[in-house]
Symmetry: C2
Subunit: 243 residues, 2 copies
């Protein structure tokens, strides 16, 4: 089973104070880009894998989705999601490393910053492909492979004083232990090659990718986001289920 | 017009001594991976963009291609290609930044380590898409975006003494002046996002990508190739022309 760091008291307390936890989708700078990759949601059967506090599920319901299901491994996050959501949204607790999904049951599967925790993403991708109707859409974000690759992640500086990001161990897929909010958070590094070929092997055709960086307006409002142009933190992907 | 560095005397002399110039395809460690991405060549109309000394063109002819055309901007390289090839192979000198191709005239378009010199790759990709028959294949390699991104490329070391590669300016597509064989070689950096979305926008559907690293046998024979696992030097892509 994947490490369930979100139910660690200290991690949960720290995570709950992030802008994306307090303000929801609008607190996530990459959200406008992800939103632009989504289909019209009205009438769709929507699944959110790693739904957390339920921000996206509630938005999908507001946009008149036919049904909305959220899955997460964290008891604490689901408790808050349920408390803040309409009972029509279905929340289920499950380990996504051993999840099975009903075939042909969703039009849109969404996942924000969850897949890089999973050991067994290949199997989940097969489930996703089977669960989507032909023409259905998978839209997800993960930490960028350049971020998850190195043994010692952290900004350094080049000869001009410009920030640089150290990359190594890039082609070695597997676990990386990092310190984020607490010590010992385990993430799974995968190269771009692994992500892209995993989609193709599961009949999920790439429609768009984005290595996210801030717009000029976002950078003006929050200059620290400019680092993302040196080395993007997030990889956003949209893929369509082949007929 | 793109810088024609291959016709610079000093560059040409240095390039001519590389293993991939003296030994051809077998001198390029990424060739077995590229070869695996190619369709059966017998009977195909084949175009090589940036054909250099004509190694791939000659191989395609040996494999019974229906026709073989090689295009390059370098007079010196084409002179050697013609001198060493059967006259049935057609070689043409052209600047690929302003190339036009006859629609529906090729089954396979191949390009090895040429696209990252071009300023106007978007226009060329449109020509490629138009020139391929539906179901036709584009197989190409470029320097990896992590390699072309930084202002000061060059290996450094991390706290363990492991080599690391410094990345910055990643989301800033555009020219980078580097020193390789001679000073002032100009390459065009493009992010993975740019390459992938450019293919999709031109109806070229991704079939496979590979960020190239050595096999264990290759690494045993040439340990210096192990650096490629820290940060791959080449991006290999196979795409199919949509119907």
């Amino acid at each position: 089973m994947t490490q369930n760091i979100y139910d660690n008291e200290e991690f949960f307390a720290g995570y709950s104070k992030l802008p994306r936890s307090e303000r929801g989708l609008l607190g996530a700078p990459e959200w406008p880009s992800l939103r632009a990759m989504l289909p019209e949601i009205a009438g769709l059967r929507v699944l959110d894998l790693g739904c957390g506090f339920g921000w996206f599920c509630r938005r999908a319901q507001e946009q008149s989705a036919l049904s909305v299901t959220g899955i997460d491994v964290s008891e604490k996050m689901l408790a808050r999601a349920k408390a803040e959501s309409d009972p029509a949204i279905q929340y289920h607790r499950a380990d996504m490393d051993s999840l099975t999904l009903v075939r042909g049951s969703y039009d849109l599967i969404y996942s924000s910053l969850a897949f890089h925790y999973l050991k067994n993403l290949g199997a989940l991708m097969g489930e996703i492909s089977g669960a989507l109707v032909p023409g259905g859409r998978l839209v997800f974000s993960v930490e960028h492979p350049m971020v998850t690759a190195p043994r010692y992640p952290g900004w350094q500086k080049d000869a001009d004083g410009t920030r640089l990001w150290p990359v190594n161990h890039y082609l070695e897929d597997g676990a990386r232990e990092t310190n984020w909010l607490v010590h010992g958070v385990v993430k799974q590094h995968r190269s771009m090659t692994t992500y892209v070929n995993m989609l193709i092997a599961n009949r999920l055709q790439l429609l768009h990718i984005e290595e996210w960086g801030p717009t000029d307006a976002q950078a003006a409002a929050m200059p620290s986001l400019l680092d993302e142009r040196q080395r993007p933190n997030f990889l956003l992907v949209s893929a369509g289920r082949a007929q």
